[in-house]
Amino acid sequence: MKLINEEIVAKRMPTRLAINSILKGVFFLATIFGLLVLGVLLYRIFTQGFGNLDLSFFQNFASRKPEEAGVKAAFIGTIWLMATVAPISLFLGVGTAIYLEEYARKNRFTIFIQVNISNLAGVPSIVFGLLGLTIFVRALALDRSVLAAALTMSLLILPVIIVASQEAIRSVPKEMREASYGLGATKWQTIIKVVLPAAIPGILTGGILALSRAIGETAPLVVLGIPMFIAFLPRTVFDTFTVLPMQIYNWTSRPQEEFQHVAAAGIIVLLVLLIIMNSIAVFIRNKFQKRY
């Protein structure tokens, strides 16, 4: 008995093969589409903004006249924000990760913290802005300061740092811990002298990537009421300030065409900053990450 009618199979084969190769092309185009958009986006922004990029762009404050507008306040403000967010978020994130990986027993409370962290990662950034507005700006009366913004941003990127640090700590093999205990080290000595040094490249890579998300975020800062037009620099973390994304948002929403070129120049500065940070992260990952 013949179960397969070879005639029909042979007849359909060319069509089936044709469909296969056509759709392979379609799938490939879909994959390339993202790269294409990225190319167009970068080309547009660089051709629009490159003319405005000169030394005075970094030396001038924001201005009503597009030819005089600069990113001095925003650029310095972004550096301030980075310098404040980094220690806060790394301290909280790495501390949580050490607790969860090294100390916590596998009970309901630990699972609850873990589920809570993954749900926190899915909360829209603008909702963190509402939290910051109520708690930091109003209740703690920090006003529109660097510190209020930094605390809000730290909470926003905390889940990312915790997860990255947890993975880094988990990838340190058990044998290294046991060898350390075997030499008479206590648990904390083992963590601080064996586990953390081995996990630092992973933690730093994740931390820098999270930090680059923080300096690209706009929405929470808009809700906090961070000003978009100031002509002075912060002296302490309690002073008000502005950052690059806010400045870009301000320039983008102006009707004059010239300001769009200024906005594009601001975007170039922001993107270059992000590229530098990402390169450092990739460099650390490739150079220092050991495989056990």
């Binding site: 547009r44 749900n119 648990k187």
Partner: protein, 330 residues
């Protein structure tokens, strides 16, 4: 001596031997350290507590979000009845004479943009996931995936600028009636933004389908396309659906793209060529405006934020439910 030894145990033996050994022997150092630790202030014991405190911060953040939203939203509902908020079809908060707070137009705006984003991101994201997991060589995959990650890491304000200054003018050439602020352009750009997320997560789901299943299909004479669509796609369906739900939840919460390119006209119609307002864009509009602290408008951003939070939370829970409930075990 014979009586003393058993009760001193090993320590006794050590101490006895220490008397004979040199002054700085290792055993003595260990003993000294142990004594110090027992007597002195122990860092060792308070560390777990301190670390637990940092872990509690993340729980406090969630509680803070929930309580802040509930607290301020309740104040809002003492001024505007809940029924009006949920059923009224007009959102005119700034009107002096006939202020009206019905959230439906804002939800409509959000859904329009998210729908367009889904129409862009789901087909393109799935197609790239199929290409990356079924067709691409290892080398090509290693080259393409980082570039997709770059696309996902671009700040949203940059996408907003791109939508307003490039995508809208290009679309206006195709659809002349398109307004400067519309739902179409930010929808498409948000779609582009979430495509890498769908592609990457779906690719993970498809790659985790074991090779034996693929080879079984090939052995029956299926082409690569037939294997991908009829075997791999159904097997990885839970992961794929979860990735789509997660990506759409990102789209709902997206703020800057719609604020820059979507406009600020809340309306209920299905037209995608006119100006709209999403929930997130409304919060931005109030925050950049000069509504004073304590006014109804001020509290309304919390009510809108609460609605947004509930939407995204439900979608995130749905994604978790899908990936747990319908996971195929191999």
């Amino acid at each position: 001596m014979l009586l003393a030894l058993p009760c001193l145990g090993w320590k006794g033996v050590f101490i006895l031997e220490l008397g004979n050994a040199e002054k700085n022997s290792v055993q003595r150092m260990i003993m000294e350290k142990k004594q110090q630790r027992k007597n002195g202030f122990s860092f060792e014991k308070i560390v777990p507590g301190l670390l637990l405190l940092t872990a509690i911060i993340s729980v406090l953040t969630t509680l803070g979000i929930v309580f802040t939203l509930i607290f301020e939203t309740v104040t809002f509902f003492t001024e505007i009845p809940l029924k009006e908020f949920l059923t009224d079809k007009k959102w005119y908060p700034f009107s002096k004479t006939e202020a009206s707070f019905g959230i439906l137009p804002l939800i409509m705006g959000t859904l329009k943009v998210t729908g367009i984003a889904a129409l862009v991101a789901v087909p393109i994201g799935l197609a790239s996931a199929i290409y990356l997991s079924e067709y691409a060589s290892d080398k090509a995959r290693r080259m393409i995936k980082p570039i997709l990650e770059v696309l996902a890491g671009i700040p949203t304000i940059v996408y907003g600028f791109f939508a307003l200054t490039f995508v809208t003018p290009v679309l206006q050439k195709i659809v002349p009636s398109l307004e400067i602020f519309n739902a179409l352009s930010p929808g498409i750009v948000i779609g582009i933004m979430i495509t890498p997320m769908i592609a990457s997560l779906s690719e993970d789901a498809m790659s985790s389908v074991p090779n034996s299943i693929r080879e079984g299909a090939f052995a029956l004479g299926a082409t690569k396309f037939e294997t991908a669509i009829k075997v791999i796609l159904p097997a990885a369906l839970s992961g794929i659906l979860a990735s789509i739900v997660l990506a759409l939840s990102r789209a709902i919460g997206e703020t800057m793209i719609v604020s820059v390119a979507g406009g600020s006209t809340p309306n209920m119609d299905m037209d995608v060529t006119t100006s709209i307002q999403t929930m997130t864009a409304y919060i931005v509009q109030v925050s950049t405006g000069d509504a004073g602290y304590g006014t109804t408008i001020y509290y309304s951003i919390y009510a809108v934020g609460m609605t947004l939070f509930v939407f995204t939370l439900l979608m995130n829970l749905l994604a978790q439910f899908i990936s747990l409930r319908f996971r195929e075990e191999y």
